[in-house]
């Protein structure tokens, strides 16, 4: 018998899931950019004998990916989820052709027929259940994240899978479009075996993954005969590897290097607006940033256009709010704008309770661009008479330092890795969201959660069935946090992918880890 969880339990599980998700992945995910629902490469050409190499910032074989047979589900297109995320950040059929909410807490997904795993076995509902169970067993926070009980995934028949959610959860299909839910073959000895257009040829632990096309893929064949993902951790080394020709493509290029790579004869860059927004989270519950006048003053001091043009070298889009304009329910155009108007900012500072304290600006020491942005902000704040100091924290302790409320201002960037972006607004602004939960549970405060009214709006948005409804509720949240200065919006992120000039056919995606490589080709 299924247990019906309380709302609080649902939220706690969801928050824990989101927390784990954010801790586990700071970027995006993968999927085929299929708009036909077949998952096939629609403009594929005749096969060639080309092999390509891609330099990744993170180890594609790291221990975390053991449940996927030791390879990352991002980028590689070895595994496919039931649901696809489109370039418009909406859901589309992939391994499931359709789905419906049977009742408020039950979803049924119909599987595509004729799908085979790389070992030739057919895709069945049991395989899907097994694949979800494997993820649930490995990561206990996942059921909370997607709102199902650990035993809530069952096979109705060979081609139908049922998901029992703990609460009414309209965003469920989009949530499982995340590549964590790429379907694997049920036999653990067979891993990594998926249904995607690429199959695993060779894995060099902590170094690289080599893939080849899956010849019996149901869709069009892919062009590269071999695709290798190499781990090149240091961003500058990735750039040098590309320039030297050691790799054909390099991801997560520092914005500061983008212009030089674009200008060079033998390299080029591809940019893509992502669902990620960079912003300053303002601590609402510590002096002096608990003063709304001061928060507004800081907002009036910031010039988002300068940040994008001068600091980020033209990549990105000046932000008005905390949610990237790529996300369907973002209300960028409807949000109020501040300055920059430093004169007005100075007046607000004088009217505020600020008395010369130095504000701490917390940044992740690994993020080169954040160091630049933080220094720029510090200079502007200094210009309006507000002292600040930058505190760099290593990536391992950055999030804990932030959620412990140790800084007045924290540079954060959040984006979604799936078509369901609801968790972003919850994580950031709900009192029980992962960013605020620690402080909220300890002393009833938080970090940048404005309070019960916003909590209610988020909960309504979470249960909204349509984008219009979500826009209404989440839009109100975005306006509220901007008006009260709970955030200082900075930019909507653009991913930068660099390639050799002779390489073409990269099909970009807002979620950069969903970039489609199946059309890669090389010219002389």
């Amino acid at each position: 018998m299924r247990r019906r969880s309380s709302r609080r339990r649902f939220l706690a599980g969801l928050s824990a899931g989101v927390s784990g998700l954010i801790a586990g992945c700071t970027g995006s995910q993968l999927s085929l950019g299929s708009d036909s629902g077949t998952g096939a490469n629609t403009d594929s050409q005749s096969s060639s004998t080309e092999s390509f190499s891609v330099a990744l910032a993170r180890d594609p074989t790291r221990e975390k990916w053991d449940i996927y047979g030791g390879i990352t589900p991002y980028y590689t297109h070895v595994f496919e989820p039931l649901v696809d995320t489109t370039a418009e950040m909406k859901t589309a059929p992939l391994l499931a052709t359709e789905w419906e909410a049977v009742d408020e807490t039950t979803w049924e997904f119909s599987l595509r027929e004729g799908v085979t795993f790389h070992n030739g076995d057919s895709l069945t509902a049991d395989a899907v259940v097994s694949s979800f169970d494997r993820v649930f067993e490995q990561w206990s926070w996942v059921p909370g994240w997607i709102g199902v009980e650990p035993d809530g995934v069952t096979a109705v028949d060979d081609t139908t899978v049922r998901f029992q959610t703990t609460e009414h959860f309209p965003a469920f299909p989009g949530t499982i479009s995340h590549n964590y839910f790429g379907i694997q073959h049920p036999d653990p000895d067979e891993t990594p075996v998926g249904t995607g257009p690429f199959q695993v040829e060779h894995v060099e632990e902590e170094q690289s993954i080599t893939l080849t096309p899956y010849e019996d893929y149901r869709g069009d064949s892919v062009d590269p005969t071999e695709l290798t993902f190499e781990w090149v951790k240091d961003p500058n080394t990735r750039v040098l590897s590309l320039q030297k020709g050691s790799v054909d493509i390099a991801e997560q290029i520092p914005k500061s290097r983008a212009a030089a790579l674009a200008d060079a004869d033998d390299t080029a860059i591809e940019t893509q607006l992502t669902p990620e927004a960079g912003l300053v989270a303002v601590n609402l519950y510590t002096a002096p940033t608990d003063d709304e006048q001061l928060r507004k003053a800081l907002n009036w001091a910031v010039d988002q256009r300068q940040i994008v043009e001068r600091v980020l070298n033209g990549t990105g889009k000046p932000a008005r709010g905390p949610i990237s304009s790529v996300i369907p329910w973002a209300v960028h155009d409807d949000l109020p704008t501040y300055g920059p108007d430093r004169e007005r900012a100075r007046e607000l500072v004088e009217d505020s309770s600020y008395s010369g304290e130095s504000l701490t600006i917390l940044i992740n020491s690994e993020n080169t661009d954040d160091k630049m942005v933080a220094q720029t902000l510090s200079g502007w704040f200094d210009d309006i008479g507000v002292a600040s100091e930058i505190r760099q924290v290593d990536p391992a302790s950055f999030y804990d330092t932030f959620t412990a409320g140790e800084a007045h201002l924290t540079l954060v960037s959040f984006g979604s890795n799936s078509a369901a972006c609801d968790y972003l607004v919850r994580a950031m602004f709900h009192s029980e969201g992962s960013d605020n939960r620690n402080r909220h549970e300890q002393d009833g405060t938080g970090i940048y959660n404005p309070g019960p009214e916003v909590d209610r709006l988020i909960e309504r948005g979470y249960r909204a069935e349509t984008v219009a409804e979500k826009r209404e509720h989440y839009g109100a949240v975005q306006k509220r946090v901007v008006q009260t200065g709970a955030v200082i919006p900075l930019y909507y992120d653009e991913s930068v992918l660099a390639r050799r000039a002779t390489v073409s056919g990269i099909d970009g995606h807002p979620v950069s880890k969903m970039t489609d490589w199946s059309g890669l080709s090389r010219s002389d």
Binding site: S256, A259, S365, M372, Q375, I390, Q392, V393
Partner: protein, 296 residues
């Protein structure tokens, strides 16, 4: 030992004379002196004459190449690189002197106590010294600075903690050689207190090698500070510290060569200058200690 050998004033006069002779006759010594003096002058007076603020950004003048207005160009936030280098020199020298001073004082004290007291005190202190010397200094400093958190003060603390052991070992070995010499024995027989013996007879005789070691050490401290700042554990932006400048400039290596080369060359020349000066001092003040210090 002759009276002259135990007379600190006489030894100092002799050393000064030999130092002058060495500098006059040794080209490398001259280079060392000139570099160090130039650096001190630049650090003290440079910021006073520079028209720019080292942290004030000017985004309209990002990454400008060297020009008469900005002799070493501007950085990614439009700040004058030369100005930042001059302020950085003040910071680097200040840190180097402070850290080396702490190392010297602590190490000398421990070495004196261990060497003069002997017995279990000597054993205990020397095992501690052995333990510290067994660790690669920069790795230990990395751990300490990492645990304490990124800041210049913590880096100074970390570098001071890992560096005093060499001084202790050097001082102890000198004290062991000195404590049974006639002038020390005579002082004891005359009823002088331990403090008197240490202060009046031992310390003056270990000053020379310690000063030489300190001079050579300064370069290492500058390198250590720059290294830890380079990886983000030291100075926090926008503080104009050479290691931090080097780290932030490497992203622009191909666009703006001056961003990396300027602090890099400064670090190199400074360390070289101090090493040359230290070598010269060693030749003059403590020629017999050279091999001993090299072993350290």
């Amino acid at each position: 030992m002759s009276a002259a050998q135990s007379d600190p004033q006489q030894r100092t006069a002799d050393s000064r004379s030999r130092l002058t002779d060495t500098i006059r006759s040794n080209r490398l010594a001259q280079v060392g002196v000139v570099v160090v003096l130039s650096l001190v002058v630049a650090a003290v007076f440079g910021p006073l004459v520079s028209p720019y603020d080292p942290v004030e950004q000017n985004l309209a003048h990002q990454l400008e190449p060297p020009s008469p207005t900005h002799p070493l160009g501007t950085d990614q936030l439009g700040r004058d690189v030369l100005t930042r280098l001059l302020y950085g020199a003040r910071l680097s020298l200040g840190i180097a002197v402070a850290v080396t001073g702490v190392r010297l004082v602590v190490g000398t004290a421990v070495g004196l106590v261990a060497g003069y007291a002997g017995g279990w005190v000597d054993e205990a202190l020397m095992r501690l010294v052995d333990t510290l010397l067994a660790f690669p200094g920069i790795v230990l400093a990395l751990v300490i600075a990492g645990v304490l958190g990124p800041s210049l003060v913590n880096v100074m603390l970390a570098l001071a903690v890992v560096g005093w052991a060499s001084y202790a070992r050097l001082v102890r070995s000198n004290v062991l050689a000195l404590r049974n010499r006639e002038f020390v024995t005579t002082a004891r027989l005359l009823g002088r207190s331990r403090t008197h013996v240490v202060v009046r007879h031992l310390i003056p005789n270990v000053v020379a090698p310690v000063v030489v070691l300190a001079t050579l050490d300064i370069g290492g401290v500058i390198l250590g500070t720059a290294g830890l700042s380079f990886i983000g554990l030291g100075a926090q932006p926008p503080t104009p510290e050479w290691g931090t400048m080097l780290a932030s400039g490497r992203t622009y290596l191909q666009q703006a060569w001056w961003l990396v080369n300027a602090p890099g060359v400064c670090i190199m020349i400074t360390v070289l200058g101090f090493n040359l000066l230290g070598d010269s001092l060693r030749d003059v003040l403590s020629p017999t200690q050279s091999a001993q210090m090299e072993q350290l």
